[in-house]
């Protein structure tokens, strides 16, 4: 299948290093301490943050830092075909873990010992890049909750199809099973907090190409949200 036309345009009309339209909204969940809706094209996720608060399960309490927990779930109607999946399948457990580790790295957990911060991410529509959309939404929700952070994490995915590095894959491009990478960056500190490569067959020059594209896009996200 041809993912990049001879004119250099992708299936949805974007250029290879062009992101989808992004939109963010804070305070979507009235009862949460912090919440955000984040959209990247047709991908739409809601994140809610509860805390810092008392640790629910005493045995998990940490005496020198805050406990960060995360749950990722997908709505039944989020994908094209209706699915009935129980919460806590392997994929969502893995993504929960990825989000938790990424957010834990940027929260100043040492300032809130013996407390707990819960991050809940709900996918309303999945059209590729849910992982990065969830991280972006979780960052915004944490910021909305006023939780001290070293920096705002921004995340984006990129892939490599038809010998072209493509930024911000949608569902069709994602299911082409080419190599893809999800990157999370702390832009002010200029550090990478998340790097996940799926599939192989990628030489180093391509990776740096993708990485450059992602850096540009994350700056752009920050500029837009600031």
């Amino acid at each position: 299948m041809e993912f990049v036309s001879p004119e250099g345009l992708r299936l949805d009309g974007r250029r290879p290093t062009e992101m989808r339209q992004i939109r963010a909204e804070l305070g979507a969940v009235a009862k949460a301490d912090g919440s955000a809706v984040f959209e990247m094209g047709n991908t739409k996720v809601v994140a809610a943050v509860y805390g810092p608060r008392e640790v629910q399960n005493r045995s998990q309490q940490l005496s020198d830092q805050a406990l960060v927990r995360c749950e990722y779930s997908m709505a039944n109607f989020s994908t094209g075909d209706r699915m009935r999946k129980p919460k806590g399948d392997r994929r969502s457990t893995e993504i929960s873990l990825v989000i938790r580790q990424t957010m834990e790295a940027c929260i100043m957990t040492h300032l809130m010992p013996r407390s707990q911060i819960d991050i809940f991410v709900q996918v309303l529509q999945a059209d590729g890049g849910t992982r990065s959309a969830c991280i972006n939404a979780a960052t915004l929700a944490l910021a909305d909750a006023g939780i001290p952070m070293h920096d705002l994490v921004t995340s984006c995915s990129a892939g490599y199809l038809n010998s072209t590095p493509l930024l911000d894959l949608n569902y069709v491009e994602d299911s082409a099973r080419g190599p893809d990478v999800t990157v999370g960056i702390l832009p002010k500190l200029d550090k990478v907090t998340l790097l996940q490569r799926i599939s192989c067959r990628l030489c180093m020059t391509d990776t740096t190409g993708e990485y450059k594209g992602i850096r540009i896009s994350t700056r752009w996200i920050n500029y837009n949200e600031g």
């Binding site: 979507a28 969940v29 009235a30 009862k31 949460a32 919440s35 047709n42 809601v46 994140a47 809610a48 509860y50 629910q56 749950e71 779930s73 709505a75 039944n76 109607f77 989020s78 994908t79 094209g80 209706r82 009935r84 919460k87 806590g88 819960d118 809940f120 991410v121 709900q122 309303l124 529509q125």
Partner: protein, 288 residues
């Protein structure tokens, strides 16, 4: 859940007794309702309903299926509700299942009618494509994004809005002379859509009993003080389509009768308000 001090509890109960609740409403006044339609483009129909802090999404997906043997002239509708953990941290993991099931069952009772499919809010015979062979299966999925009381009424309103937003593709049956066992071939149009008649879909009014009085559209704080609640679904003709009682305390039968007549009165206002909100949402969706 909601942690209230003794003083706050007295304040809520006292306010209800004096017909002036903590947010300034009277006992039978609803919070403002906001409806948005077409929020999930992948579904055949969808709507988001907000009432105060309560925020729910309902979607309708249609798939071609086979009618059941007992009712070859009727389509199938199923309702499934999920409570997102964004709404309440206790819904994490399997913590939401009890409430999700309770809400799903109540909505099925209120909207889908009896086992035979009679009395359903949606005309099930309009879902049949070829009798006994092909019909539309409607999957109604609800998601509670944020919960601040009165989830059942909000979900009922969201499903009503989502159904009126739903377009079912027109299906052409290929007229090939096939054998009795074969499924006929169908051609699904992606341009022509049929709309439902949703005027028969009831609205749900939940009356929550706090102390000696009962209130409409209770918030989460007020619900924490309830002794029992009765959910009554009423259609446009003023007929009662479903009745569910929750909560442990018993109710005097005369109070239930009283509640039904009050609910009938309240539902008229709610129905009109909802219809105008749905019409406004559809209009703004068409513009954009």
């Amino acid at each position: 859940m909601v942690g209230l001090s003794l003083g706050e509890k007295h304040f809520i109960q006292g306010g209800i007794a004096q017909d002036l609740r903590s947010d300034g409403r009277k006992r039978l006044t609803y919070r403002p309702i906001y409806v948005e339609t077409g929020v999930i483009p992948q579904a055949n129909g969808s709507a988001r309903v907000r009432m105060g802090g309560t925020n729910v999404i309902a979607t309708v997906k249609a798939e071609l299926g086979r009618p059941s043997q007992l009712q070859p002239d009727k389509g199938k509708v199923s309702i499934h509700i999920d409570c997102s953990s964004t709404a309440e941290p206790v819904f994490e993991g399997r913590g939401h299942e009890e409430l999700s099931t309770e809400l799903s069952v109540s909505l099925q009772r209120s909207l889908l009618g009896g086992k035979s499919g009679s009395g359903a809010g949606i005309d099930l015979s309009s879902l049949v494509v070829v009798e006994g062979k092909i019909c539309w299966d409607l999957y109604i999925d609800g998601l509670v994004v944020c919960s601040d009381g009165n989830l059942l009424d909000a979900l009922g309103a969201a499903i009503k809005a989502a159904l009126s937003n739903t377009g079912i593709p027109r299906v052409q049956v290929a007229s090939s002379a096939s054998g009795d066992e074969d499924q006929p071939e169908v051609d699904i149009s992606d341009e022509e859509f049929l709309q439902f008649d949703t005027s028969g879909v009831p609205v749900i009014v939940t009356l929550t009993k706090v102390g000696k009085h009962y209130i409409a559209d209770a918030t989460a704080e007020e619900e924490s003080q309830m002794s029992s609640a009765v959910s009554i679904s009423v259609n446009r003709k003023g007929h009662i389509c479903g009745l569910t009682k929750r909560g442990g305390a018993g109710l005097d039968p005369s109070i239930i009768l009283d509640m039904i007549s009050v609910a009938k009165h309240v539902s008229e206002k709610l129905m009109n308000k909802l219809d105008s909100e749905i019409a406004a949402a559809e209009a703004s969706e068409d513009e954009s």
